[in-house]
Symmetry: C2
Subunit: 404 residues, 2 copies
């Protein structure tokens, strides 16, 4: 008998039939004698409905009240899921975040988990019950409802798995694992059986959109091994863990493309200490996530700074840069017609051939590299957005990622 | 400055505009310098939607999970109401039943309030905030969500008024007070300015449907004076309290008609001790509410028992009586074409003319009395259902109830 935490996202519990489907999956796992804690999200669409209702009353609703409101979505799902289990003879009991002992800080709408008091939950597990826990929510020391922000239900599952020392944590989503590339773009993309936390982090932050980086970081910190898989089939998914045993030759694990970025070039700024700091301080103060910073060598006392920002934050960036550029001189141009392509893999830094293969592959296809940045486990390049899909296919083939 | 508890029902908070309307009413009361605790129900329709969703998954949902599910309705309204208040500059904070310190027993779907720890609530009141509390819900010692059953939000308001020693408790509903008769039937029915708990109890239990008897009993027990009024206008409502100063001549306060009753005649049962007990024990075991019991004088060793049961419980009564009648002999007949008409008023028992006037009025209209029962503050008669409205009009006029 092992102890399993499962998490089902909003589409997996989207309607009556899907909740029944989840109940059947739970029944099958339980028939194998396992203890089971199940984290569920709000039904797909419910959170957006609630937000629309709030905005109709107040365009800037208080974050405390927003949490009180949004927690409703998951609370509905836990009760319905427990009822669906009862209907097929499985003892089950629902827990809100507060009832499950999930305590958080007081930062409404993006609270951090402080700890989990799993006493009540352990008692019901011992009594042989399946525990259904509302994802995405907790309570602060003052008894107020808090929510964990984007990807919060994944985080609930991983934190619970750590708290109750689960043997396994399964994250059910609408994709059935982590692929070597986006299967919609690269036809022979291959599902990875295993991947390391670090690789998953890079893929998550690079737009593969399977999970928020925050949950992966939490799992890495507490050593929670988890599997990403689909609730709509029974295929094995991708297991994410600390160490992955690779054959020596496997270096690149996947190709990720992020089309939701804009390139910013700040040109003709004074080439002296403190100039770049002023530019990035202005962006940081506006909470803008900057990536892939490159500064060229200054000539004639002026220099250029190039970097990327998320497309959604472009307008904020334009505004934030204005006063800074008045200060340091120079002008900013923005390019939305770009994409970031990255190859990711632990051990890449000891294989110098990776960068060469990547650059050569793109060069042979006449795809220009506008920016390059590297880390221990990834190489990213900025290229024209309309070449991104072609580039992904070529790079995927160049590293033979379709072969295990 | 006084301290006021207000309760708004499901129709009063039914949509965005109505919530805004409630917010404006609250703002006006606060502008007069009062402290305010506001209890709200789920938006009209939400509870039924949730029940439908539950039944689609499980025809007999667990009561614990039903409570977890239904609490969602009020939780949505409190957050939305607080947001609407913020939008017009009123500091407000929402409380679920658990957060408001409302502790109950463990009887899910019809829990009883054990006590209220109003510490957090008092703190926010002192900070000048309007408190919005979810009606209908509480929490048991085990931290599980409970609901208070029908009329639960009224009960929340009255219990909170007692706990925080409110000066006033206002129950906003879709009628604007307690009338001498149903205004849809009796055109010149008059709204009562005041009524005693006992009279209100009789009217509530007799189908005037303004409030559940349970909330009135609670108010009487703790001496909470409350006013029933409408959220759709600014007319004064009806104040319900212990003692009402009447002119000596005012005896009958109102006429109530209940068409949702069935008459049961159990005939030819053995006229000996214990027979009636067996019949009513069978009904009590099936949780059937029996009223207006009459046993005629036995002749020839057999007797007849007549009584009324709520129409909704008729089928249960048929079933429950079967084995009992096999035991004591006799047969049961059921008549659904009846109505119960009652005249209600404190002090009635010292005015013997009331019964005479009632019976004579009905006799002159050739309306037959099938059953009669009396208590200290009411006289009820069972008559043909199709004569009930006419009877109400005649009796209302006979007692000159249109005049204060």
């Amino acid at each position: 008998m092992s102890r399993i935490v499962q998490k089902y996202g909003g589409t997996s519990v989207g309607d009556t039939d899907r909740i029944k489907n989840v109940a059947q999956r739970i029944k099958a796992v339980r028939a194998d004698g396992h203890e089971l804690v199940v984290v569920v999200s709000a039904r797909a669409g419910v959170t957006n409905e609630l937000i629309a209702r709030a905005k109709a009353l107040n365009p800037l609703p208080s974050e405390r009240e927003m949490d009180q409101l949004l927690a409703v979505g998951e609370q509905e799902t836990i009760a319905l899921t427990a009822m669906a289990l009862h209907a097929i003879g499985i003892p089950a009991v629902s827990y809100t975040g507060a009832q499950a002992g999930i305590s958080t800080d007081t930062v409404h709408t993006k609270a951090k988990i402080k700890g989990i008091n799993a006493r009540a939950l352990e008692r019901d597990l011992e009594a042989g019950k399946v525990i259904i826990v509302a994802g995405f929510q907790g309570t602060n020391d003052d008894g107020q409802t808090t929510t964990l922000g984007r990807g919060g239900s994944d985080l609930t599952a991983i934190a619970l798995a750590a708290a109750i020392h689960a043997d396994k944590c399964e994250i059910y989503t609408d994709v059935d694992g982590v692929y070597t590339a986006d299967p919609r773009v690269v036809k022979d993309a291959r599902k990875l059986a295993e991947i390391s936390y670090d690789e998953m982090l890079e893929l998550a932050s690079l737009g593969s959109k399977v999970m928020q980086t925050r949950s992966v970081e939490f799992a890495a910190k507490y050593g929670v091994v988890f599997e990403v898989r689909s609730s709509f089939n029974h295929n094995p998914g991708t297991i994410v863990k600390q160490e992955v045993a690779y054959m020596e030759k496997v270096v690149v694990r996947g190709v990720a493309v992020d089309k939701d970025q804009a390139k910013v070039v700040v040109s003709n700024i004074a080439d002296k200490p403190g100039t770049a700091a002023k530019v990035f301080r202005a962006l940081a103060n506006a909470n803008i996530n900057v990536d892939m910073i490159v500064q060229n060598v200054g000539r004639g006392g002026v220099a250029n700074l190039t970097f990327t920002v998320p497309l959604t934050e472009k307008d904020k960036a334009v505004k934030a840069l204005e006063p800074a550029l008045k200060d340091v001189g120079g002008a900013a141009t923005f390019d939305e017609a770009i994409a970031k392509l990255s190859v990711v893999g632990v051990g890449m830094k000891t294989h110098s051939g990776v960068a060469a293969t990547l650059f050569q592959t793109l060069a042979e296809a006449s795809i220009n590299l506008e920016l390059i940045s590297t880390s221990e486990i990834k190489i990213s390049v900025v290229i024209a957005k309309d070449k991104a899909d072609e580039a992904a296919r070529l790079v995927h083939a160049a590293f033979a990622l379709n072969q295990a």
